[in-house]
Amino acid sequence: MNTQVDWVQLTIVIIIFAAVTVMGFMAARWRRTGALESLDEWGLGGRGFGTFITWFLLGGDLYTAYTFVAVPAAMYATGAVSGFFAVPYTIVVYPIIFVFMSRLWSVAHRNGYVTPADFVGGRYGSRGLSLAVAVTGILATMPYIALQLVGMQAVFETMGLGGSNTLAKDLPLLIAFAVLAAYTYSSGLRAPAMIAFVKDGLIYLVIGVAIIYLPHVLGGWDTIFDAAKTKMTTPNPTTHKPTGAFIPGETGYSAYWTLALGSAMALFMYPHSVTAVLSTKNRNVVRRNAAILPAYSLLLGLLALLGFMAITAKVNVKGLDGLANPQLAIPRLFDQEFPSWFAGIAFAAIAVGALVPAAIMSIAAANLFTRNIYRDFIKRDATPAHEAKVSKLASLVVKFGALIFVLAMDKTIALNLQLLGGIWILQTFPAIVGGLFTRWFHRWALLAGWAVAMVYGTITAYRVVNPATKKHFGGSLSNFPFTDKQVYIALTAFVINLLVVIVLTLVLRALKVAEGVDATHPTDYVADAGDPGVKDLPDLLDGEGTTPARA
């Protein structure tokens, strides 16, 4: 085990980090189409990204510390059900977004919507519903950013930074946090887009080497899978149940597919995914991307298997504080099996891979706050420059929120942070995706369904206690009501949400309760760039081209 600081690794990580930071600042000048002092310019990078850059940008968004640290850590600790579901998750997500994302692009560009809450507010003429969507987006993004910070922390700990006392342990985390905050503050979305190129280059290099080199030194795939099988079928000394699932048994089926489907449906409800899609050039860029993004899914599958390689290599996952931390499995595997200089490159890849999405997520959450809370409820006549300023401050606040999640939550299963965010964000699905296809749902029914599901999801997740640490929010699975089938809580809450929405819509329609003014037109949903009324950046910059909720 490495208790000393490894200077070779540290130097390489610092050099790559510094290069990335410089690029971030330079990116502020790249492809600039307007003054950065406007929210659209800072938060959407001018909305001119084509297929290729979008591919990198979405990849930077979606494949994060979740992929490099959390999923392999889950595979290492408990096997397929808790980890490998990420593969079907990233397979089914693309056909799903193919169906509805183009419509969101069109309606957003014709009406000047920048956030999902803008759309919901305009579609249903309801500021309350818009607020609910905005608050959910901000809340759900925080644990997702927290996961990125946990990932970076694991890397720094492996390099020997930190110690057993609180301050020493969190210092590297705080430094990374400061770098992230500084460059996001100054250059907006363009910085992460630029850095995504570096990041993906590094990641492909590291994965390529890991997938070819590691099985070779560890005795081949047969050995790796057999070692994993042995570990997963061995009973846990305290619970006397098998440690995990090498291949899901019948009782694991429902957990496996609901985790995959729930995560897939939730992914494109996150404000940062919406931001990335809206920054594309025309309505079909996202569909074209749906066809080429699976390249990343393959990567994710192979990365997940690194967790099994860590089992084969008998990696030590004891943290500097003396407790076992599965999040250390992959960094420790690299540390143990690679020469120092290459481990340094791999660590830089993981750290930058956490930095980029954390930046994108905090920008998107900040946009939500500014447009849908600050402008709608606090200061209606804010100038674009003033909005951009508020947004930058809000992005800092969101990052601090994430830091609180890191410090307060049970980190033994980091994947859980993302799954918790998913429970919340999925509850905006009926309003957003439903609204893209139909105006039948009643706005108050949607609000009620959202509220019930949020409460149910949060309470149910709170009640899951981790048997090892006795902490609440210890998992994301619970029995589906009236059955003994374990399912992802997000999906159960979603079903409850939908039932409430349908029943209340019928009631409210029968009572003829006012349903609000729809600011969109059916043609908006199929409009493309260049069509009359589809706004380009210059129209949006003056802030007049927008139609947020005014109910």
Binding site: A80, F84, V87, P88, I91, V92, Y94, P95, I96, F98, V99, R103, G220, W221, D222, T223, I224, F225, F246, I247, P248, G249, E250, G252, Y253, Y256, W257, A260, L261, N284, R287, R288, A290, A291, I292, P294, A295, S297, L298, G301, L302, L305, F437, T438, R439, W440, H521, P522, T523, Y525, V526, A527, D528, D531, P532
Partner: protein, 101 residues
């Protein structure tokens, strides 16, 4: 009914391909087994990785089909004439009808 019937076959095919790409990878019971292994990979693992490629192909085909139809539709309309909601993809014909009300 007439609206459903008027939906072009290209949309039907795209819709079915997309639906299959969502449903089949979620049928865990069909692939939760160890044998046959491929290059040391248990069936459970290589089968799901194989679906990454299958899905890329089905989504690409759907993209071409939908894009072709959309181009035809837009050309026929001279881009922006009249409400076009009802002429949108088959996947949302019913929804678009709802939106027109």
């Amino acid at each position: 009914m007439s609206k459903v019937a008027a939906v072009r076959p290209a949309y039907w095919i795209a819709g079915i391909l997309l639906a299959l790409s969502v449903v089949v990878p979620l049928l865990v019971s069909t692939y939760a087994k160890d044998e046959p292994r491929l290059w040391g990979f248990p069936f459970f693992y290589w089968y799901q990785l194989l679906w990454v490629f299958v899905s890329a192909i089905t989504v690409s085909i759907s993209y071409r089909l939908v894009l072709g139809e959309e181009r035809k539709r837009r050309a026929a309309q001279g881009l922006d004439t009249g409400p076009e909601g009802d002429r949108d993809a088959g996947r949302d014909a019913a929804a678009a009808k709802e939106a027109e009300k």
